[in-house]
């Protein structure tokens, strides 16, 4: 049963990777990376159940969720404001 989930996740990963490579705007690539992190989390959790030690793998999955969110928000901040130092669009001199 778990193998179906793993196969579906692998295929969806390949599709998201294709979008990240092709994606015309930069937002397509950010979107693909974001959905890729979600799929990685699901993949690791499923694989933890697959090998029978889910408690260890779920910790990694939780940490991936947090790191993926921080990364996505940092990337969006750069793409919106131009650098990481500004606190908002008003404070910048652009």
């Amino acid at each position: 049963m778990l193998i179906i989930v793993v196969i579906a996740l692998l295929m969806a990963m390949a599709l998201a990777l294709l979008r990240a490579i092709r994606g015309p705007t930069v937002y397509d690539r950010i979107l693909a990376a974001n959905v890729f992190s979600t799929k990685t989390i699901l993949m690791i959790t499923t694989f933890g159940f697959f090998v029978g030690r889910p408690e260890l793998y779920i910790d990694i999955a939780i940490m991936y969720g947090l790191i993926g969110f921080i990364g996505t928000v940092a990337v969006l901040k750069v793409s919106e404001f131009g650098n990481l130092g500004q606190s908002g669009p008003q404070s910048g001199g652009q």
Binding site: M13, A33, I67, V75, V78, L84
Partner: protein, 183 residues
């Protein structure tokens, strides 16, 4: 068996990601592809049962290095320039080095073998003597902080220096901007 198939598929995706990162000239897109690359690499490490390496890969690859590369891009601009020279000599060097490395792996012991020097030489000593030598229950901590203490000190020096360098480079522009806005 199934883990091997998953591994092969993930490694294939890794190769595609690496080729895409080379072919793209928009550095912002390359950073995003690298984020995907590090998620894939971490999944490979998890499938290979190297959970601690996967932790490190997630924290360093997907977390801090994405942010550092983005900060660099905000300094150097977003588009890669066309290289001025031909790529044949670098390709020759890379192919020869890669061939030597692949040739080196032929001498490595099989995956998970018990009778390798790593498992026979010094690891049993650490496992048996760390309690009486150091006196703390965690063997990893005693190896890192006492048996290989100078090694760890050197690593920390390198990381500290690298951190100062990164902060220096990334902090220059902000300070200059502040000075410009004041004057």
């Amino acid at each position: 068996m199934i883990a091997e198939i998953i591994n092969v598929v993930l490694l294939g995706l890794l190769v595609i990601t690496a080729v895409a990162a080379i072919r793209l000239h928009d550095l912002f897109a390359v950073v995003m592809v690298f984020g995907i690359y590090s998620f894939l690499a971490a999944t490979v490490f998890v499938v290979l049962d190297a959970v601690d390496v996967a932790f490190t890969e997630a924290a360093v690859g997907a977390g801090i290095s994405t942010i550092l590369m983005l900060a660099t891009i905000s300094l150097v601009g977003r588009w890669e320039r066309r290289p001025a020279h031909r790529p044949f000599l670098p390709i020759l060097v890379v192919v020869v080095t890669g061939g030597a490395l692949v040739y080196g792996t032929l001498d490595m012991p099989n995956f998970g073998e018990q009778s390798t020097p790593v498992h026979e030489h010094i690891a049993p000593y650490y496992l048996e003597q760390s309690k009486s030598d150091i006196g703390i229950p965690n063997v990893v901590t005693s190896v890192l902080a006492s048996y290989r203490g100078y090694d760890t000190l050197g690593e920390l020096t390198v990381i500290f220096t690298a951190g100062i360098g990164v902060l220096g480079i990334l902090g220059i522009r902000r300070r200059r901007e502040e000075k410009n806005s004041e004057g």
